[in-house]
């Protein structure tokens, strides 16, 4: 298996476009996943009876095969980016919802009591005390969801999307390994860089966790 460097040199523009498109799909999925998970996690955290149901539901959704999800969505959103993002979002829920609930659970009761006793109302307590303290656990979920989404985007090649995944079909159809290798390397690079950036974001957002006595 040799790499045809001239092909890569001739296709840098295409590779860049595909990489950006790939990243866009994955990040949109994580973004919408968080948007859906946060309120659901607050509900699951506050209303105990709903907790098992919501977490169970996110597990069940995760077990649906990706192709099945895309096929089911075709009548609704067709062969579009929207279909890709919806499909990927569904998969992020399993990690994001569970980690957000666990993050909220990990906030010490004493600290919540203190906020209440100082006269902080519930919504403000959630935004300024509970979510910040849950952040390390939530961020762990965001990192997994991000890496998972980056690797999953390729599946959307079936519906004509799929970012870097298109390189795999291209290489396979022409029995030409270079695009496949380029796609794999770029996907890995994306995952590693995105994860490192998230670690940096978490570091910046949680100054209290890094200063030791």
């Amino acid at each position: 298996m040799t790499i045809d460097w001239s092909w890569i040199g001739d296709h840098t523009d295409d590779l860049t476009t595909l990489t950006v498109s790939h990243l866009q799909a994955a990040l949109s999925a994580v973004f919408f996943g968080l948007l859906i998970s946060l309120p659901l996690a607050v509900i699951a955290h506050r209303v105990r009876p709903l907790r098992g149901f919501l977490l169970g539901l996110s597990n069940v959704l995760f077990t649906i095969p990706s192709i099945a999800i895309f096929v089911l969505l075709l009548p609704v959103s067709g062969l579009t980016r929207t279909t890709t993002v919806i499909g990927l979002t569904v998969y992020t829920l399993v990690v994001l919802l569970r980690n957000t609930v666990e993050g909220l659970d990990s906030v010490p009761v004493k600290t919540k009591e203190a906020a209440k006793a100082m006269g902080t109302r519930p919504l403000r307590t959630l935004l300024t005390v509970e979510l910040p303290l849950a952040l390390p656990v939530i961020m762990a979920g965001v990192r997994i969801a991000t890496v998972m989404s980056i690797s999953l985007v390729s599946v959307a090649t079936y519906i004509g999307d799929g970012g870097l995944g298109q390189l795999f079909t291209d290489g396979f159809q022409r029995n030409f390994p270079t695009p496949v290798i380029a796609g794999v390397v770029l996907t890995l690079l994306l995952a590693v860089v995105a994860d490192a950036l998230l670690v940096a974001v978490q570091y910046a957002l949680t100054p209290w966790t890094r200063r030791r006595a």
Binding site: P108, K110, T111, E113, A114, A115, K116, A117, M118, G119, T120, R121, R124, V129, P132, L133, T206, P207, W208, R211, R212, A213
Partner: protein, 371 residues
């Protein structure tokens, strides 16, 4: 210590026939009527599960009563918005309960920020309070876990004082620190209280802490019954029943002496040329007792007028001559007091406390408060 006398201040906090039953059926507080005077320290004591913490938490609506009324500064707490009420009352929580993700300065600024003071003004106030509670200015930039337990408690007190509330609730605030630090924190609280004159409600299970800090002490029994509420001296001199007597312990007579100073005990010149000599340094500060016979040296702990009769009694027992060395504020010897004089004063302190308790008991509680 006791600037406040019961009956002087009007009740800042008033419980009337308050009951609290929890959904699981346990009665936490049973038919409680209690007045907490303005500018005084009311200590709630009792073993765990006696309802003292529930009583405290009903004042700022962390718990709502099942029946009865609670008034703070003449206003029924149930008629007020709970969050607004809590912002107007300082609360020091067990084991400090600081926000781990906020700097010390921002922890202290919590209530001012909730009240909409603006960040700059709130932080300036917080910096001022750091000094008030005896912390260095650079502690403000640190996070709570970087401080010692005692320092965290100081931050907890500063946070409660931030918006200058007239009422301070303290729920076993010094329970988790070691005895030396606890004594320091108690001293600081008494010093602060002299300046600030807050109405303080203090929960503890430590009788000594109650006697030390309280202007009045309310003793609770399991099942949420208030057994007795009186000044420390009255309580120690005339416990209402065996439960209170047991709770105060076998040394309650000695605890009473911790409330009196030895200022009135007469003193004479230090003995010279006898079996024991009190050796002084060149500044006339006592060093130790010296035996003429064999040169033995026994340490001396000189006492000031502000020290307690209990300390004097202890020193008179430990001293080889039965004499207690007395010094002025500078530590210079002013004279010695005999064991007999100290004992006589200790006895008189008891007689006086009993008589006082008798008078207080003969005045109806209502009249005492309205007076």
């Amino acid at each position: 210590m006791t600037l406040y006398r019961p009956g002087k201040g009007h009740p800042m906090i008033q419980f009337d026939a308050v009951h609290k039953r929890f959904p699981n059926g346990t009665t936490a507080v049973h038919d409680l009527s209690l007045r907490m005077p303005e500018g005084g320290v009311t200590v709630l004591v009792g073993s765990s599960g006696c309802g003292k913490t529930t009583t405290l938490r009903m004042i700022n609506r962390m718990v709502d009563p099942t029946s009865g009324t609670i008034q703070v500064n003449g206003k029924d707490v149930l008629q007020q918005d709970a969050a607004d009420l809590r912002r107007s009352i300082g609360y020091v929580i067990q084991q400090s309960g600081l926000f781990p993700h906020r700097t010390v300065l921002d922890n202290i600024a919590t209530v001012p920020l909730l009240l909409g003071w603006g960040r700059k003004k709130a932080r300036a106030r917080a910096a001022e309070l750091l000094e008030t509670v005896g912390l260095a200015a650079d502690a403000g930039k640190r996070y709570p876990h970087q401080l010692s337990g005692g320092q965290q408690q100081r931050v907890g007190v500063a946070r409660a004082l931030a918006a200058d509330p007239p009422v301070l609730l303290m729920d076993e605030p010094f329970g988790a620190v070691d005895p030396v630090v606890r004594t320091q924190l108690q001293d600081e609280l008494l010093r602060l209280q002299k300046e600030l004159n807050k109405t303080i409600v203090f929960v503890t299970h430590d009788v000594d802490e109650a006697v030390r800090l309280g202007d009045q002490i309310a003793i609770f029994r399991t099942g949420g019954h208030l057994v007795q509420c009186a000044t420390p001296a009255e309580l120690l001199a005339r416990p209402a029943d065996d439960f209170v007597a047991d709770f105060l312990g076998a040394e309650r007579g000695l605890k009473l002496l911790s409330l009196k100073t030895l200022a009135d005990v007469p003193q004479g010149p230090a003995p010279e040329g006898g079996a024991w000599t009190l050796v002084l340094d060149e500044a006339r500060k006592p060093l130790h007792w010296h035996a003429a016979a064999d040169g033995t040296e026994i340490p001396v702990r000189p006492l000031r007028d502000s020290d307690s009769l209990l300390a004097a009694l202890n020193e008179s027992v430990a001293s080889p001559t039965g004499l207690t060395a007395r010094v002025d504020a500078a530590g210079t010897l002013t004279g010695v007091s005999s064991r007999d004089d100290i004992h006589a004063h200790a006895g008189r302190a008891h007689v006086a406390a009993r008589a006082e308790a008798q008078t207080a008991a003969s005045v109806p509680a209502e009249a005492q408060v309205e007076a």
